[in-house]
């Protein structure tokens, strides 16, 4: 995005070029691909970065969350929203970055209709630092970083390799622009200032990625980190996460090539496609022009053709005339504030995983289901200003707590069973209803009791699934036991000494027997075959009973009872 810096960035890459050992890729044999990514993540704060106005969702009507500052009215001044700073600190901590106790804001000037001030307030200029002196910015020392954080690290899992470490060059705070929509028919631009001034974190990776797949894994991992710490909802479809990608290619053993930047990629799929096209384009260029270097360019991506196209060359790069913002001075952070944020930092996905495995060792065998749970947890609604909105993991952990009812502790709940019910049944049924976990109307105590009812044999597994479906379609605060009784889902048992004595009374006992007897009466030829020794027909009789019981009958008990009754009749 910023040619001055990125140029230095690519020179620097020569130094650490061999951090990654070369691996041949059959798609482009003999070529090494180097990728670095700048991510713009919208900060999930209630209010904008410098004005008191609220941030906007996709449904807000245009120009409804706008303060005079957002519209660049004369006489207005910026004021840093400390919530945005806190969320940037969270991100920096999660990305193991060193946080600058003093950072500064700069103005980046360019005229565009989506930027009413005529400049963007960002944290770009690195040549010197501005300090607070009578609140007047003043020049003091060289070579201190302007961004709020630098030198971070993100470990990503890739399908092909062991986990790789991606270095984070810097994290900087900046303003988002307004939305401008050009209507070619009437030759007019419509400007929506709702987004103008929303806080962004620009997260810049070092060029440590070596394939489109690694780039995809990096963005997905970064997305999950941002969501986990609550600093951004990382929603690429809605534009709260955008990527600019720097791609260069070089022949094996050669120094890195000249990079091109592809701007504004708004999905992982498009980003990977853009990198693949760019590799193809650059290698073809170098093959066709031996000895030449790829012209440094800023490029766009066409989502219809899956190809990149030239936006401007290095020579056309605008001069942004960076200037320290004279109103904001230095952003000074205390170590105590950073420690406080560190103490309350929400856990990262891999931390949650190891914590759960520690707490419930039996889940070690359920790796896949645990991944499903963690993914769902990461997909939860990200709360404003870093407030926790409660996710699937929290729900699961509440489920695992054995409830105390009427002063009595119930039987221990089994985390494996709960995880199965949660990931297979609850999430499965929500999926069929085209709903997500956030739509789940069952409280953890309702769902926990439902699983308990199945586990203690009060209802059968089949009835449990019926009951869950009913409770999803008819949300209420009623207890599952109550609903099960009302719908006569209580399991039919063979004797009156049922484990769930309160409701499974003796009438239920006889009911299963009545059902079995009527099946025997309804299916005389099958009964005759059974008596003749054909055990296979027993399944048919049991199935009949099961159907008639609407899932309340337990198959094993029914089988035993039918067999017993048939033999009794013989005698």
């Amino acid at each position: 995005m910023f040619l001055r810096r990125v140029y230095a960035h690519s020179l620097k890459s020569r130094g650490f070029h061999d951090l990654r050992t070369y691996q041949d890729d059959p798609r482009w044999p003999g070529w090494q691909v180097i990728v670095g990514i700048e991510t713009h993540a919208q900060i999930k704060s209630r209010r904008k970065l410098f004005s008191g106005s609220f941030t906007s969702g996709v449904d807000d009507p245009p120009n409804t969350n706008v303060s005079p500052f957002d519209a660049a009215f004369p006489g207005t001044l910026p004021k840093v929203n400390s919530k945005c700073v806190d969320l940037a600190i969270r991100t920096a901590l999660a990305l193991k970055s060193s946080i600058s106790l003093r950072s500064s804001f700069d103005r980046k000037h360019y005229f565009y209709s989506d930027q009413p001030l005529g400049y963007q307030i960002t944290q770009q200029y690195c040549a010197y630092v501005v300090l607070l002196f009578i609140n007047i910015p003043m020049l003091i020392a060289a070579n201190m970083p302007a961004p709020i954080a630098t030198n971070g690290l993100l470990e990503i899992e890739t399908p092909q390799n062991s986990p790789i470490q991606v270095r984070i060059k810097q994290i900087q705070l900046e303003q988002d622009t307004a939305k401008s929509t050009f209507n070619p028919r009437i030759q007019k631009s419509h400007i929506d200032l709702n987004r103008a001034g929303t806080g962004l974190m620009e997260i810049v990776s070092e060029p440590d990625l070596r394939s489109p797949e690694e780039a995809g894994a990096y963005v997905r991992t970064l997305q999950s980190v941002l969501r986990a710490v609550g600093s951004s909802d990382g929603n690429m479809e809605q534009g709260s996460l955008r990527c600019d990608v720097n791609v260069s290619v070089n022949r094996k053993g050669d120094p890195p090539g000249i990079r091109c930047e592809i701007k504004n990629l708004n999905s992982v799929k498009f980003m990977m496609a853009a990198i693949i096209h760019e590799i193809k384009r650059q290698t073809e260029f170098l093959n066709a022009n031996p000895g030449a270097t790829v012209p440094q360019e800023t490029r766009g991506f066409d989502e219809n053709t899956f190809e990149t196209f030239r936006l401007r060359s290095k020579e056309d790069a605008p001069d942004y005339r960076y200037m320290p913002d004279p109103n904001l001075g230095a952003l000074v952070l205390s170590q105590a504030r950073i420690e406080e944020i560190k103490k309350n930092l929400p856990p990262l996905p891999w931390e949650i995983r190891s914590r759960l495995l520690n707490k419930y060792p039996s889940l070690r065998a359920k790796g896949k289901s645990l991944d499903v749970l963690l993914n769902v947890n990461n997909g939860r609604e990200v709360g404003f200003d870093g407030e926790d909105s409660g996710g699937a993991v929290e729900y699961f952990e509440r489920l695992c707590q054995t409830p105390v009812r009427d002063g009595n502790r119930g039987p221990e709940r089994d985390p494996v069973v709960l995880l199965n019910w949660l990931t297979h049944e609850l999430l499965g049924q929500l999926a069929t209803r085209k709903e997500t976990f956030t739509d789940n109307p069952l409280s953890s105590s309702q769902f926990g009791e439902l699983v308990d009812l199945v586990q203690d044999g009060t209802i059968t597994g089949t009835s449990g699934k019926h009951l869950l479906r009913h409770m999803l379609s008819n949300p209420s605060s009623r207890r599952p036991r109550e609903i099960a009784t009302e719908f006569q889902l209580i399991a039919l048992t063979t004797s009156s000494s049922s484990p769930s004595t309160a409701l499974a009374d003796s009438s239920a006992t006889s009911e299963l027997e009545i059902l079995c007897r009527s099946a025997i009466a309804d299916l005389p030829s099958e009964v005759a075959a059974l008596r003749a020794g054909n055990k296979n027909v027993l399944n048919k009789i049991v199935g009949h009973v099961m159907r008639k019981s609407r899932g309340r009958a337990d198959a094993t008990a029914t089988r035993a009872l039918v067999e017993k009754l048939v033999i009794q009749d013989e005698q």
């Binding site: 001044l77 004021k79 840093v80 607070l132 009578i134 004279p326």
Partner: protein
């Protein structure tokens, strides 16, 4: 720039005062009606207030507001076509503010003089008796120069004491709201009520720093028995660099007169040197223009202000090409010149040699001031500079406010003299770069041989008192003493 007028109401416990205040207000309206057509100071006059005598501290004070400070009821146009101002400043077609001092002397008509800028409207309004006090803004001398030219008191407070929320930014790191009035007492009265912390201004000095500054001042234990008693033992520095060759000899003469009067009343006069002063003007123009080029980028005619529709055939895909028409038509020539200067100073090729260099000079200027003042700078990272200074420092500095009396209007209009116009600021910009408080007090009216021998009129000259950051009350007290010495 011309001004708006507003009247604020206060509690004046004494009935007679209230009546006299009220009659002042009526007199002001009368004065505006009689004189504004010739002085050209006001762009808007508010209606008569609906109620009088509310129990408020500034009750009855008629205050003019510079047209770059937003008010709740009056238009804010900066007297610029860009903000649909129907009036324009000295550099534009509507005509400049005329120095009322000349207009009110019943001599033969001579060439009209300027009230100075950019708070010339505020100074002229006070000088002509059209208001009791006025708010102006001072970036490099815009309150102090007009005050000196129009013969009124002008205060540029320490940077960050008065909120800039509502002030149209020119150069944020230098802009200060200033107060103009006919005497120091009224200046102080208004200043005391508006110099308050404002959380809406990120550069507003926090309360603890204000308190620290007043504690430092209290430790000095200046006598306040009478207006002159402050002078006993007061260490007044006279910076040698503030008497450049361009200065009019008659001004030097009068300032010397004031200095000997101060000495006679017990002040200790100490010659000091502020060696970086000669670089101040260049530094100031680079920094102020750079910040102005940035701050004026927002005037594109889209969200507010005047919009000029681009002619047919304009390349609509380039935003800057569309904005260029509004900006070309509505910015005055001087504004355009400064935007271009500032844009150049920030460009990648010039940044190090201009903007950064100017910042370094700004620091040298600050160091100069910190070296001579006895009171330390509360914001300095190295608090030991006071001890590094073996000699006892000075409490305040005194120097002429301007190198000349009010210039002829014809001079300020002519383009080839614009460098001379910049030179007028040479004595005022160092305090701006340092963020220091400075007060200009009228000391004499003189016949000026410099501007043309035919002029028989008497033109005001002013002297400036400059203090360390946060010593605004001290310089006001010294100003009051100087004022009483003139009577």
């Amino acid at each position: 720039m011309r001004v708006n007028v507003a009247t604020k109401w206060t509690n004046i416990s004494h009935l007679q005062t209230q009546i006299s205040r009220y009659s002042t207000h009526v007199q002001c309206r009368q004065a505006i009606a009689n004189k504004n057509s010739s002085v050209n100071a006001f762009v808007h006059v508010s209606g008569a207030p609906s109620q009088l005598g509310k129990d408020l501290p500034l009750s009855g004070l008629t205050v003019a507001i510079k047209d770059n400070i937003a008010t709740s009821r009056m238009p804010t146009t900066c007297s610029s076509a860009m903000l649909k101002g129907n009036s324009l400043n000295v550099h534009s077609v509507h005509g400049p503010v005329k120095n009322p001092v000349g207009l009110l002397q019943m001599n033969d008509p001579v060439e009209e003089r300027s009230a100075g800028g950019s708070s010339g409207g505020s100074a002229a309004a006070v000088s002509a008796g059209m208001c009791d006090a006025a708010l102006g803004t001072d970036t490099g001398g815009s309150v102090r120069l007009p005050a000196s030219y129009c013969g009124v008191v002008g205060l540029k407070p320490s940077y960050g004491l008065i909120s800039r929320w509502g002030v149209v930014s020119y150069a944020d790191s230098l802009d200060c709201v200033g107060v103009l009035a006919s005497d120091v007492h009224t200046t102080k009265q208004l200043f005391d009520h508006i110099a308050l912390y404002d959380e809406l201004d990120p550069t507003s000095a926090p309360n603890e720093i204000r308190e620290q500054a007043s504690r430092h001042l209290a430790e000095k234990a200046f006598s306040t028995d009478s207006s002159l008693s402050i002078l006993k033992g007061l260490r007044i520095g006279v910076p040698q660099e503030y008497f450049p060759s361009e200065i009019s000899p008659i001004i030097t003469q009068h300032v010397r007169g004031v200095i000997s009067q101060l000495k006679n009343h017990g002040a200790i006069i100490i010659p000091v040197s502020l060696p970086s002063t000669s670089y101040a003007l260049s530094s100031y123009y680079v920094l102020a223009s750079a910040e102005a080029s940035s701050n004026l980028a927002r005037y594109d005619g889209v969200q507010y202000g005047s919009y000029v529709k681009p002619p047919l055939g304009t390349d609509l895909t380039k935003t800057s090409k569309i904005y260029a028409h509004s900006r070309t038509a509505n910015f005055g020539q001087e504004v355009q010149k400064r935007i271009l200067l500032g844009t150049y100073a920030l460009s990648a090729d010039a940044f190090d040699n201009y903007f950064l260099q100017a910042q370094r000079i700004r620091q040298l200027i600050r160091n100069d001031f910190n070296r001579v003042f006895d009171i330390p700078s509360y914001f300095s990272d190295s608090p030991d500079h006071r001890h590094a200074n073996t000699d006892q420092g000075v409490d305040v500095l005194i120097h002429p406010s301007a190198i000349r009396t009010a210039p002829l209007l014809s001079e300020s209009k002519s383009h080839n003299s614009s460098l001379d116009a910049y030179l007028q600021d040479v004595l005022t910009v160092p305090a701006s770069l340092g963020g220091l408080p400075a007060l200009s007090i009228p000391i004499a009216r003189v016949k000026d041989d410099g501007a043309g021998s035919k002029d028989e009129k008497q033109w005001p000259i002013g002297v400036s008192v400059v203090g360390q950051w946060g010593t605004d009350q001290l310089i006001l007290s010294v100003g009051e003493a100087i004022e009483s010495l003139q009577q």
